[in-house]
Symmetry: C2
């Protein structure tokens, strides 16, 4: 088992990464000074079926009295109505101020359960067990919790740090291949923006990663968490520097938005966005052709899309970009690459962006 | 104008107390580095009628583009449904991450608008203009925001500090006398638990206070904010010491609860609770008979109730106490008095409490 510490003063917390950690959650809670009693588990209809029994068992054998609340799987349920359902079930289940609330699942479960934990009784202790690669390398670090609003994603939320995070790499075996690959997009992102070493490692060992080699997965996920932690420690509430994590996300979000979130998984849209941001960086003389080629090649080898589908190019996509949250003064902010591990921000007018599409 | 600073590190903020400050809100925002653009005002149907125009005017003349959202007055609207209404109106009104959200009203408006500010886009800058005495001396300091749930009050909320607070003592002239007097209960509370000087001052100048002498009100409200700030600075998230502010609230909450929040204003129930807690303190040999008499006498002179209505004494009230959030291990935690400015916590079994009723 590896441990990454996210250093945020009094809100610091450890991330445990390794094999078969699901069965350790009960004793981990004990080690973090939880004394037994009620423990709430929030999961969804798919992950619940696979792993709830193991979590319930470890909680029981450590002396806890588990309450499991299931929400239906899928981003379309990440809203205020299902949050109200969560509140009702948790309050009915007699949670108290010290009751740990454990999120068992992917991003939707983590975001919603995290927001419920942030707001029930003005804050319950929160524990995350992310079961998708994306949630493991992204949502484990940063404390972003939220639900969607019909006007936009994650419009209602809070920054709220967990007490600890448990990443059991074995849970990735039940993840659909397409979702695993989409998660790799974020892994590659950390390589591009923060670590040439990580990028090279993925280039060299991609087949082993795709075969879910547990040792390599543990190392790679740990590294991603460490890299993201360094960024979040610098800028917890995203006032400035943390925005580098949006590399590939500016175009990515626009692609997701103009396709109503139906055509691409998040990581797939981000992969196209990263290829585009690297292309743009090269065209503007910020990075070499080699950097652009290596990024494109690795994304493709991983099984990720890199080109904007022809039918999506055009004004509609530019309009999607122009309504991005990161827009300021009529320009769109792009995270660009100078070299592996070296980024800069560029403000572009939509007209100029159009010339690179 | 007087200024109290609440010292909470990077979340520190000033409270401005004085006359006719409503017309200064626009320039105060400017002075706090807000650059114009959208400014959202949340108020209720009663306070809105009285003061929204003045606030809109000061915002406009300082170069802001005000959006006013009104919720119906009354605690029964402090719930998730009206919060969702608030979210919709604010999002429709194109608020952005830097849009200041101004709460103009009493406790309900402050709590709900504060929670909306805490959670929209994971946190908008929040400004409070409390217009009731209770909100001015209580909600201005501490950052507690929340909505109610059918299972209990303030079950869903967050700790979220405002950027600044504006207390215009002139707004108290429009406050119903009964509400002003109920607010005095909290003022007297600060005297009992934290400051013999404040208690003596109120004893000596009660008539002037009841006549709404602006200079005296400014001094008293400023003092209450300073005293509460000292407590909150010590213990921001109520892990321990901050609980002394619950003096009078243990029985007070039970009284409100068994009468379904219809018979007493909060301050009235707290007044009875303070008289009881002081009585209990005397009976247990913690404070002198003089302390008990002075507390009772001042509350009565202010026009507050001090005795538990006969029809409410009995098992039902004890049951109300036994379900208090501050219950631990079958005992109820009371804040007791040793002398003015000196308190202690006592754990009592409900059976023993019954003997003092």
């Amino acid at each position: 088992m590896e441990t990454v510490t996210v250093n945020l003063g009094s809100r610091s917390y450890p991330i445990f990464v390794g094999r078969n950690l699901l069965s350790e959650v009960g004793s981990m809670l004990r080690a973090q000074n939880f004394q037994g009693g009620r423990a709430a588990v929030v999961t969804d209809s798919i992950v619940g079926k696979l792993y709830r029994d193991r979590v319930v068992e470890t909680l029981k054998s450590a002396g806890f009295d588990p309450l499991v609340v299931e929400i239906p799987a899928g981003e379309e349920h990440k809203n205020l109505a299902w949050l109200a359902f969560l509140y009702d079930k948790l309050i009915d289940g007699r949670i108290e101020r010290r009751t740990p609330l454990i999120a068992l699942g992917g991003g939707v479960v983590g975001d919603m359960a995290g927001f419920a934990a942030a707001t029930l009784q003005r804050g319950l202790p929160f524990v995350q067990i992310p079961t998708t690669l994306l949630a493991q390398v992204d949502a484990s670090v940063g404390g972003k919790t939220a639900v969607n609003h019909s006007a936009g994603k994650n419009l209602i939320g809070a920054f709220y740090q967990p007490r600890f995070v448990v990443i059991d790499v074995e849970t990735l075996r039940s993840l659909p291949k397409r979702e695993f690959v989409a998660g790799l997009a974020e892994v590659i992102k950390y390589g591009v923006i923060l670590s040439a070493d990580l990028f090279t490692l993925i280039e060299e060992h991609l087949p082993r990663l795709l075969q879910l080699d547990a040792e390599l997965l543990t190392f790679v996920i740990k590294t991603c968490c460490q890299l993201k932690a360094l960024v979040v420690e610098e800028d917890e509430t995203e006032s400035d520097y943390r925005a580098i994590l949006n590399f590939g996300h500016t175009l990515g979000h626009a692609l997701e938005s103009v396709t109503a979130y139906k055509q691409f998984l998040h990581g797939e849209a981000v992969a196209i966005g990263m290829a585009f941001a690297t292309h743009l960086s090269h065209k503007r003389g910020l990075c070499s052709a080699t950097v652009e080629q290596r990024v494109r090649k690795l994304l493709k080898k991983a099984g990720l899309p890199v080109d904007i589908p022809k039918d999506l190019k055009g004004d509609y996509l530019l309009f999607g970009l122009a309504t991005d949250k990161k827009m300021a003064g009529g320009k769109v902010k792009f995270v660009c690459v100078e070299d592996f591990g070296k980024t800069c921000f560029e403000m572009l007018e939509t007209k100029e962006i159009g010339t690179y599409l």
